[in-house]
Symmetry: C2
Subunit: 249 residues, 2 copies
DNA sequence: CGAGCCGTTGAGGGGATTCAAGCTCAGTGG
DNA sequence: CCACTGAGCTTGAATCCCCTCAACGGCTCG
């Protein structure tokens, strides 16, 4: 069985250390535990499975798993950002969703189902690996965990449906503004967002990379994006909101 | 608290009996039980909650619930077809997903979350009402039910992501063909599919009703849709597949 | 019968694509 | 050192697909 644990690099060796797949996690002091799946568990319930939880580091553009693979683990995003990709029969790549800090990804594995999409790290990303068997065993004894699992799944569904209405509908400019709104939810502490490659923006909005480039350039000129660097930008929240109001009127 | 149980009619009184909301269900002989959520339960486990399960009839275009409502029940689709709608801030309506026979809808209610979308019956539809409290109580004792619930949720997520890649990407003709493929999955026993109003096709594909009309007319001329009636059509599966192959090349 | 909804079709305009050229920048190797 | 290369981004010009606006026909229903 391929992949999944030993992450696959896609780009040329582009900095960042390789994954350190087997570092045992110490969950207690974890600053995202309140957000994460196991937040419903008490320390004493969490303790016995801590040895099974591994902390993983993925470089930007590293694939976490492939569509169709039957994985053996789900992951909690500890920090960073993950995108989900599909390739249509016409060969068109489409990005269908994003997951950030605290989100659960790959939960298909907990049901012994193949992964529905490819998961790719957008930026250097830290994940907690949750082996399927362990989660299933726990969920049997802890109804709260079963409920938390379903809640995560429901959240992902709402994300996906919102993606249809916001990112896949209307004129391209509105779609781009809505995308920025979502990226803003994953901004770093200095308010900078991950700015995808133009081709990737195209794969999110279903436009060509040229159109994506024109959209970014224009928003930069308008001051919605005061600073545009490679793979990173700052967003003027006020102007973004204003631009959206105009676009929706 | 409004709505939800006493279904809301949107169209003028257009035939079909009003909902009969309190008919107790007899689940044992139900022909879709193998498909449905409670398929994981034995008869003896199912028996005590049967009095709580009501069978509902919804006419075409009847709303089952509204987005934002905090409902008290999920529903299994016994027969018929349900669409999920959202309205964007720009006032644009968008249909984000379909659910048919055997599918679970409104599972947000089981988590005490507001419904994420409006659910509307596409055709006369029969539903089984599953009160949230009952399901939750059962799930505590029956891990298999908890698992089944999560599986339904995951299925819905895969539907939604597929909707992004198939129905919301690429040229309008391809999107229309992909939509027909999906409608075909809910065809009646004579191979006829529900053909939405042109405006509704538009809300699914994110095109105008005029474009939707042109797409339908052209597919009819090409023989992909040998018979087009109001709200119903037959599909030539072979020609559909051929047209898709061409569109994807 | 007139009103309203639904569907169809045409003509014209606009937004996104396609095709193309040129730019910056990092990495490579002569 | 610096040409060479390729990836990513930008911009322009022409084309095309879809939207907009409009007119019209069929149908149901008050």
């Amino acid at each position: 069985m391929p992949g999944e644990v030993h992450l696959m690099r896609r780009l040329p060796a582009d900095s960042a250390a390789p994954a350190s797949p087997r570092a045992q996690a110490d969950c207690r002091p974890c600053e995202i535990r309140p957000l994460a799946l196991f937040s419903v568990l008490q320390d004493h319930a969490l303790a016995p499975l801590r040895p099974e939880i591994a902390s993983l580091h993925a470089a930007a553009d590293e694939r976490l798993y492939l569509r169709g693979e039957i994985g053996s683990a789900a992951y909690t995003v500890h920090s960073g950002l993950v995108r989900f990709e599909r390739v249509t029969e016409s060969g068109q790549r489409r990005i269908v969703r994003l997951a950030g800090r605290g989100d659960l990804i790959g939960q298909e594995a907990l049901l012994q189902r193949p992964y529905a999409d490819e998961a790719v790290a957008c930026v250097p990303t830290v994940l907690c690996r949750l082996p399927g068997g362990v989660v299933e065993r726990m969920a049997r004894g802890e109804p709260a965990l079963a409920r938390a699992l379903m809640e995560r799944c429901q959240l992902a569904l709402e994300q996906a449906e919102g993606w249809i209405a916001d990112i896949s509908s209307g004129p391209s400019r509105r779609r781009m503004l809505k995308l920025l709104e979502r990226l803003l939810a994953h901004a770093d502490d200095q308010g900078r967002v991950w700015l995808p490659r133009r081709q990737e923006i195209g794969d999110m909005l279903d436009v060509t990379l040229e159109t994506a480039s024109r959209l970014v350039s224009q928003l930069a000129r308008e001051g919605v994006l005061p600073q545009v660097e490679t793979r990173r930008a700052t967003v003027d929240v006020g102007r973004l909101a204003a631009a959206l109001t105009v676009a929706d009127s």
